[in-house]
């Protein structure tokens, strides 16, 4: 994928991320500087993986620190959540799903057609992820709490 096309494509995902997080949680995370990650790479305690096919192929891995996970899930549920339990994981999986769904809509408006898989959300200590493609990481900050979106994608020739 050429750099300008990649940048435009990523911008659709990033726009969707901010729109969806703000719309359903009222929170506006600050975006950090994107960077390339070598694989395998460590991720936060909670991750949500969504596959993408069509004009773009690969995976998007959402990685949430415990505090970011609790904060986002609390905002979605409308009550304080202090545990990373099954319902919290489901909420974060759904958040990732909505970000990717919105991304798909924005991409289709730009003539790029994709479909997404259901999210796989899991939690673990010292988890590392291996992708076959180079990974572009976009960090977000909710004050001191962090989430990352890792893009392992190709396509859009």
């Amino acid at each position: 994928m050429e750099n300008t096309v990649l940048a435009d494509t990523l911008n659709h995902f990033l726009q969707a991320c901010l729109e969806i997080i703000n719309q359903i949680t009222g929170l506006s995370p600050d975006r950090g500087k994107p960077f390339v990650k070598k694989t395998p790479y460590p991720v936060h305690h909670v991750i949500s993986i969504i596959g993408i096919t069509g004009d773009i192929q690969g995976q998007v891995i959402f990685s949430y620190s415990d505090k970011a996970a609790q904060r986002l899930a609390s905002a979605m549920a409308g009550m304080e959540i202090t545990a990373i339990d099954d319902m919290t994981l489901s909420a974060l999986g759904e958040l990732s799903n909505m970000v990717m769904g919105r991304s798909g809509t924005l991409l289709s408006e730009a003539g790029i057609n994709v479909t997404i898989t259901p999210p796989t959300t899991l939690t673990g200590e010292q988890v590392t992820v291996t992708n076959q493609k180079p990974v572009i990481c976009v960090p977000y900050y909710l004050e001191n709490d962090q989430l990352e979106i890792n893009f392992a994608i190709k396509g859009v020739n």
């Binding site: 549920a77 319902m87 489901s90 759904e94 909505m98 289709s108 057609n113 997404i116």
Partner: protein, 121 residues
């Protein structure tokens, strides 16, 4: 008698959210399904008045489930509730037989309006 709703979504959180919304509005959630294959079985079992149906699900997606349900019950009232808002997806769902299409995230009132509208038809 309260209208009977079947809630279909692979995310337990979303099923809970929809269930809470429609229950508060006076509807009865007769059952839930986590994928399209289970949705078909639950539809046959309960014959709900309305189904809320996600699209992206494992086993069988929502479009496939809509087609199967409509094939057995052409009068089935199915409202799509999905994160996938592409024009193509909307057209596929409506052509499959869905009566309305709601894109997540949605306001509570939107889903209640959709259910009320399909029940009044």
């Amino acid at each position: 008698m309260a209208a009977k709703i079947l809630v279909v979504d692979d995310a337990a959180f979303m099923r809970m959210t929809i269930k809470n919304t429609v229950t508060k509005a006076g509807y009865e959630v007769v059952d839930e399904a986590e994928n399209g294959a289970v949705a078909i079985k639950k539809y046959e079992e309960h014959k709900p008045d309305v189904v809320t149906m996600d699209i992206t699900m494992p086993e069988l997606d929502g479009i496939g489930a809509v087609k199967a349900i409509i094939a057995k019950d052409p009068d089935a009232k199915i409202v799509m509730v999905t994160a996938m808002g592409q024009q193509q997806m909307v057209m596929e769902a409506i052509q499959a037989g869905a009566k309305d299409f709601i894109v997540k995230p949605f306001e509570q009132e939107r889903i209640l309006q959709a259910i009320k509208k399909v029940l009044n038809k």
